[in-house]
Amino acid sequence: MRPVLSYVAAALPVDIALEEQFTTKAQQRHAAKFGMWCWLITELLLFGGLLLVATVLRVLHPASVSAAATHLKFWIGASNTVVLICSSLTMSGAINASRLGLQTLMVRCMLATGGLGSVFLLLKAYEYYRDYQEHMVPFLDWRPYALPHDHASRLFINDYFAATGLHGVHLITGIAILLVLTRQASRAGYLSLHQNRIEIFGLYWHFIDLVWIIVFPTLYLVNRG
């Protein structure tokens, strides 16, 4: 591994290119960041609908929801929480490196972030597979449901699939954007033209992490007792 100082020596100028609709670069940076925050608020309400459904179901059918929730794979969910938090750490590493102009370090941090995101997806896929094995996939006609007499528990499991599926779609999108961005950002001179794109993407990535941190307790934790 290269010593840290060699990264510092390789530091590049950090800036953004002014687009024609803006007057100053500070304005452009502010607008970009603000725009992403607005998008994240919208996304939060998108998940809010699903989390509300989970909460309503818990109030309407507490016993059924508990019975279903004990079938969720708590330890896989918990491990995934840790994985995503680590990926947020590497992403903020990438952001800080980009601010300092340390392109190589930044690219490595971004690759690590993508790797951790993929680990999450693999674990999630394994979890879905276990659900399938345990007959906990109520919407598949050919797979008899494990709790056939508990109709309301189906709703909760359906919501679990909808919420984690939607989160998975966000994560897949996030990884895809991350890979494209990493490819672009590894080119020479990128940081002097588009440094703030790393920051903007970072916000989105942290959001994916944050949503999981809300989804995990809402689905897995509070219903176990």
């Binding site: 024609e20 609709q21 803006f22 007057t23 304005q27 502010h30 607008a31 603000f34 725009g35 607005c38 998008w39 608020i41 919208t42 996304e43 939060l44 309400l45 998108l46 998940f47 809010g48 609908g49 699903l50 509300l52 459904v53 309503v56 309407l60 059918h61 059924s64 919407f139 006609d141 109709h151 309301a152 189906r154 709703l155 359906n158 919501d159 699939f161 909808a162 939607l166």
Partner: protein, 550 residues
């Protein structure tokens, strides 16, 4: 000499030569490519204008067929299924493809950056993307109509939409979901533009009220649209894959869908109404040549409406078994909505008082708007009253009420704004005489169409029914006859506005002697809106000099 001083008292002469001036946005480039791939907010606004006009025509044809069917009480003209599809298409198209995008995506896109003195919106490419997303959603909807339609009503209530309907529910839902993203992106763009792109000196309280209402509308776009996206997505999942949430056969709760649906769709009413209020707040001071009365109150009332509207969705569900406490709370909150609405109406009226009023076409529409909005708003109070709502719920009384707000409000404001800014959009004047005639036709036609529906509803005629007792026929025929007059009122502008593109008088920069940055640039504006970036050192609606002259 500052910009405001140099421009305050003179209007550039009509037909002034273009030598030494950059070409305006219409003549900058001529290829189709330069339109369809343009990131200029003005061109995107025009693309939206054409798109929503198309959908307005489509929705109006469906409405015309509904009125045709209701001329006879026995429903002999269309089959029940066809009738169900007609009112569903009318609702879906008018709500999601005309009313919601109408003013924000056309006037908002075109005018918002100019009104705040910016070169463009904050994210021009995102703006273009939002139009393409709109078109994509539109294609789903057109597909639905072409292959056979959908019969759930625009509300898509479960479990009919998820389990029992045998029509094209999924493509219709996808169309609405997709077009929602277009709204979200437009709202996002406007919020960021208003926060970051204002010209030097353009403080928040120097913004025209139109910008305030765009801001309030955009907040609703951002905060409410995702909720209907997820609710409709769950419907799609339930219908397509059996991933049920709302199915009562599984212990699910169809009322939950109604909650999620109205959590968006009530605020959506304000997405439709607030921009109209913004347009009226521009027209009234210009044609009374008087400062807008109580500027801050009107601005705050917009935000007040945008906030209150998130807490009244339950008034759509008074008779579906929600608790009495919930109903009473929603009733009370719904009454509260009357306060900011009334603030606006009183302020417009006070602006007109002792103004030097010119009854040109935009002002005629504005006056019509105020009258119809008051009627629509007051009948809203009837519906917010629990006991009366029990009686008139799901009757034509409700239909008449929301058409007074949606058509009498939004559509009139849209047409008023279209005439008011037409010189700015196109560089041409519309024929004033025809404008007044069609405004008159619309006012008469609208009232003849929808006032009888208040009576029908009060007498007990339910909405969405194909047949009715013969004693209701007279009022129904009156309503259908009114819709013909209304249709004429819509057809006239479509003809003379297109005519004016070629034969209309050339418009000066400021034909109405109005205030605001959009009137300080040429008609039509150059590509980047201003020849020199403006600095704002004047208050909004600064009509004082003319007032003292009066």
């Amino acid at each position: 000499m500052s910009l405001s001083e140099s421009l305050l008292h003179r209007d550039p002469a009509p037909g002034r030569g273009t030598i030494g001036r950059p070409p305006d946005y219409l003549h900058d480039e001529h290829t189709l490519r330069s339109w369809f791939f343009s990131i200029d907010h003005k061109r995107i606004g025009i693309l939206y204008l054409l798109s929503i006009t198309f959908f307005f025509v489509l929705g109006s044809i469906a409405a015309g067929l509904i009125r045709l069917s209701l001329v006879v009480p026995n429903g002999a003209i269309f089959s029940n299924d066809t009738y169900n599809k007609l009112f569903t298409i009318h609702g879906v198209v008018m709500v999601w493809f005309f009313l919601i995008p109408s003013i924000p995506t056309t006037f908002g896109n075109f005018l918002l950056p100019i009104m705040i003195g910016a070169r463009d919106v904050a994210f021009p490419r995102l703006n273009r993307l939002s139009w393409y997303i709109f078109v994509c959603g539109a294609l789903f909807t057109l597909f639905t109509i072409v292959v056979g339609g959908v019969d759930t009503g625009w509300t898509f209530y479960a479990p009919f939409s998820t389990t029992f309907s045998n029509t094209w529910v999924i493509p219709a839902l996808l169309g609405v979901i997709v077009v929602g993203f277009s709204s979200i992106l437009t709202g996002l763009n406007f919020v960021v533009t208003l926060h970051t792109m204002r010209a030097p000196g353009m403080t928040w309280f120097r913004l025209p009220i139109f910008c305030w209402t765009m801001y309030a509308t955009s907040l609703i776009f951002l905060l409410a649209t995702p909720v209907i996206t997820i609710a409709l997505l769950l419907l799609v999942l339930e219908r397509a894959f059996g991933i049920g949430i709302f199915d009562p056969a599984l212990g699910g709760d169809p009322v939950l869908f109604e909650h999620l649906f109205w959590f968006y769709s009530h605020p959506a009413v304000y997405i439709m109404v607030l921009p109209g209020m913004g347009v009226i707040s521009e027209i009234v001071p210009a044609f009374a040549q008087k400062k807008l009365f109580g500027y801050r109150f009107v601005a705050y009332a917009s935000l007040g409406l945008a906030s209150l509207t998130f807490f009244v969705w339950g008034h759509h569900m008074f008779v579906n078994g929600q608790s009495e406490v919930a109903s009473l709370s929603f009733s009370l909150l719904s009454f509260a909505v009357a306060v900011p609405s009334a603030v606006k109406v009183y302020n417009w009226t006070a602006t007109i008082y002792k103004g030097s009023i010119k009854l040109d076409t935009p002002m005629l529409y504005a006056m019509g708007y105020i009258g119809l909005f008051v009627l629509g708003g007051l009948t809203g109070l009837f519906l917010a009253t629990l006991a009366i709502d029990e009686h008139v719920h799901d009757t034509y009384f409700v239909v008449a009420h929301f058409h007074y707000i949606m058509v009498g409000g939004t559509a009139l404001a849209f047409l008023g704004g279209l005439h008011y800014w037409w010189p700015k959009f196109t560089g041409r004047m519309y024929p004033e005489g025809w404008g007044r005639v069609s405004a008159f036709f619309i006012f008469i036609g609208f009232n003849t169409t929808f006032f009888p529906q208040f009576l029908l509803g009060y007498l007990g005629m339910p909405r969405r029914y194909h047949t009715y007792p013969p004693e209701f026929q007279l009022l129904n025929i009156l309503s259908s006859a009114g819709s013909l007059i209304l249709a004429l009122g819509y057809i006239f502008p479509m003809i003379y506005l297109v005519w004016s593109l070629r034969y209309g008088k050339r418009a000066p920069a400021n034909p109405w002697h109005a205030r605001g940055l959009e009137w300080m640039t040429t008609s039509p504006p150059p590509k980047h809106n201003f020849e020199t970036p403006p600095t704002v050192d004047f208050e909004p609606y600064d009509y004082r000099d003319r007032e003292s002259r009066v």
